[in-house]
């Protein structure tokens, strides 16, 4: 960081800061030079921090009233909804908050894909982000089990059974995960314990994610390296904080719309039926944010193959920085990649859609085509396009189009204006 050394004004502050430089840290965070052309797709980092804290705070309160026991869990959730003061509000914020969290994280991830934020020198930020995403999925899955409704129980049964596909030791691993010979009380209690633990692991990774971000600084819509600080940057506070705050408020309006006026529309009605190991629901479906992976899982006729592809779909993202061979970061200057980016978005949406449908007929065909294309995008299209694509000229700086002499600044500018 090319910032000036911070020296506290007061004697006490200096004494403290020499021993624990918290004030220097605060100064770094407020002065942190940020590209001034960040658009609203860059506000989702702050929104995600808000989502995590909301889940942690509402979760702590819910855990005070929830009972992790197979016979009592369902009733304790109803107790929260009926007898705890504003329990319904806290629970609906928590359950819809999970959906909002994933909505935000998907936008955040696709923003990174579009503007090439995962590329050098930001690979570690990207990888930590993916680890956060994996932990989010684990936390969300286990959290969905806790109300002990029908979808909780059967979702847990389907997902934990995936591990039985591992050759030789699969069945033993599944039994070990359950703590019983089927999904039962021991499964519920350990899921509760882990569900409480994981958000704090995520919080730790978020600190690392931001730390790693502050080494090279933010990417930006133009995708070029910028001098920091310079006339291309603004201090994080108040410029970025106020913009993040505005975007967060708009996000909260949508969030509140779900919580107060459609609190159950993103859930499944079967989860208001208490878990019953003797009755299998007609269609077992995960929550919407896991549907694309569910579609990939079911597109393979072989169980082990399906599991490998499903996990592969996530793990392939870890090597994305090395699969993408293009030197240009932002898709704004990559006419071919830009097209493929949108095809990938549509592909993931289609996978999500067929994930909610029965795995038969046209849905199965779509799931298979979608799965093949998903892997094709990362393994073939990205490396090849990076070599063959003729990228458009990139400006030399954000604020100085004249120096670059590039006609394409207009495009970057157009991009900025549209936000």
């Amino acid at each position: 960081m090319s910032e000036q050394e911070y020296v506290p004004k007061s004697k006490v502050g200096k004494w403290f800061n020499d021993r624990l430089p918290l004030l220097s840290l605060a100064s770094h965070l407020t002065d942190y030079p940020t590209p001034k052309n960040l658009n609203y797709w860059w506000t989702f980092g702050g929104i995600l921090t808000f989502c995590l804290l909301t889940q942690i705070i509402t979760g702590i309160v819910l855990a005070m009233h929830y009972v992790a026991h197979a016979d009592l869990a369902f009733a304790s959730v109803e107790h929260i909804m009926r007898d705890v003061n504003y329990g319904w509000l806290i629970r609906y914020i928590h359950s819809n908050g999970a959906s909002m969290f994933f909505l935000a994280v998907y936008i955040h991830i696709f923003r990174s894909l579009f503007y090439g934020s995962y590329k050098s020198p930001r690979e570690i930020i990207w990888i930590i982000g993916l680890m956060i995403y994996l932990l989010m999925m684990a936390a969300a899955f286990m959290g969905y089990v806790l109300p002990w409704g029908q979808m909780s129980f059967w979702g847990a049964t389907v997902i934990t059974n995936l591990f039985s596909a591992i050759p030789l030791i699969g069945d033993s691993i599944t039994t070990w995960l359950w703590g019983a010979y089927s999904v039962d009380n021991p499964t519920l209690t350990r899921f509760f314990s882990l569900h409480y633990l994981i958000p704090f692991l995520i919080l730790g990774l978020v600190v690392l994610h931001i730390w790693a971000l502050h080494v090279p600084g933010n990417n930006n819509p133009v995708g070029i390296d910028i001098k920091k600080p310079s006339k291309d940057t603004v201090p994080f506070h108040p410029y970025i904080t106020i913009k993040d705050a505005f975007a967060l408020l708009l996000f909260m309006i949508i969030f509140a719309g779900f919580v107060f006026f459609a609190p159950n529309v993103l859930g499944h009605s079967d989860n208001y039926i208490q878990a019953n190991p003797m009755v299998t629901p007609a269609h077992i479906v995960p929550e919407w944010y896991l549907l694309p992976f569910y579609a990939i899982l079911r597109s393979v006729p072989d169980k082990l193959g399906g599991v490998i592809l499903m996990f592969g779909a996530i793990f392939i993202l870890f090597v994305l920085p090395w699969l993408d061979t293009s030197k240009v970061r932002s898709a704004v200057f990559r006419p071919i990649y830009r097209q493929f980016f949108w095809i990938l978005v549509i592909d993931v949406l289609v996978l999500g859609y067929v994930g909610a449908m029965p795995a038969e007929g046209i849905y199965l065909v779509l799931a298979r085509v979608g799965t093949v294309y998903y892997f094709l995008h990362f393994i073939v299209i990205l490396p090849v396009v990076g070599y063959l694509e003729k990228t458009e000229p990139v400006p030399l700086s954000i604020s100085d189009p004249v120096l670059s002499g590039s006609a394409d600044y207009s495009m970057a500018k157009k991009d900025n204006e549209k936000i």
């Binding site: 001034k36 658009n39 797709w41 009733a75 109803e78 107790h79 909804m81 009926r82 319904w88 509000l89 609906y92 909505l103 998907y106 936008i107 696709f110 579009f114 603004v234 108040p238 410029y239 106020i242 913009k243 705050a245 505005f246 408020l249 708009l250 909260m252 309006i253 509140a256 719309g257 919580v259 107060f260 006026f261 609190p263 159950n264 529309v265 993103l266 859930g267 499944h268 009605s269 079967d270 208001y272 039926i273 007609a282 919407w288 549907l291 949108w342 978005v345 949406l349 999500g352 859609y353 909610a356 991009d415 900025n416 204006e417 549209k418 936000i419």
Partner: protein, 258 residues
Amino acid sequence: MKKFKLFFCILLSLTIFNTLKSAEQIDPIKVDWSFKGLLGKFDRSSLQRGYQVYNEVCASCHSMQYLSYRNLGEPGGPEFSEEEVKAIAAGFEVTDGPDAQGEMFTRPGRPSDKFVSPYPNVNAAAAANGGAYPPDMSVLVKARKGGANYIYSVLVGYEDPPPGVTLDEGVYYNKYMIGNKIKMPNNLSDGLVDYADGTEATVDQMAKDVTTFLSWAAEPELESRHKTGVKVILYLVLLSILVFLSMKKIWSRVNPEI
């Protein structure tokens, strides 16, 4: 950027579309419930009539184990008076104990008691109903696709089976039920209950009243949720306008076009 916004809309609409998509049977009748919409409220007298239908017709088989008698007097619900709630509760025999001698005993119900269930356990309930357990109705409206519309439709959806459909003993034909076969007989008939407020007790009226009551039972917080929601969103909109103006002002120092 436009494409990004489009993507956002598609994602939202897709997820909503997915969850709303209903199963194979015919769509339930759409009723214009007073509690739908942003400012929806329950019809107080319909809730009271609905409780009467539940108590006189449904309660002989269906439990509502998560409700307490006191809920009947709480704001946003049927809002029976304190005396009425006490009288309703006292009309039930509640098993309590053990007493000092270690014996269980029965006493008249109190408002703080949970609704007394008609059967001691699920197996007893199933055994008394041809093997089909009458589901607990506390959250039934939330536990069925189509919600209140579906419950109402099933209540009025009984008809003679179409030719070619044979039904076993104790199974009935219902055009809205999944699979069209239901073990609950058609329990509603015109004039079955005697409404205190003089409303004519037609099958349709009773079905609407009891569905309203069940909707409240499933979401007793609905009215305060709607009221709070309007306030919260108004507050957020006002605050975001203020923050937007501040943002414009702050950013005007570097770049007038944010």
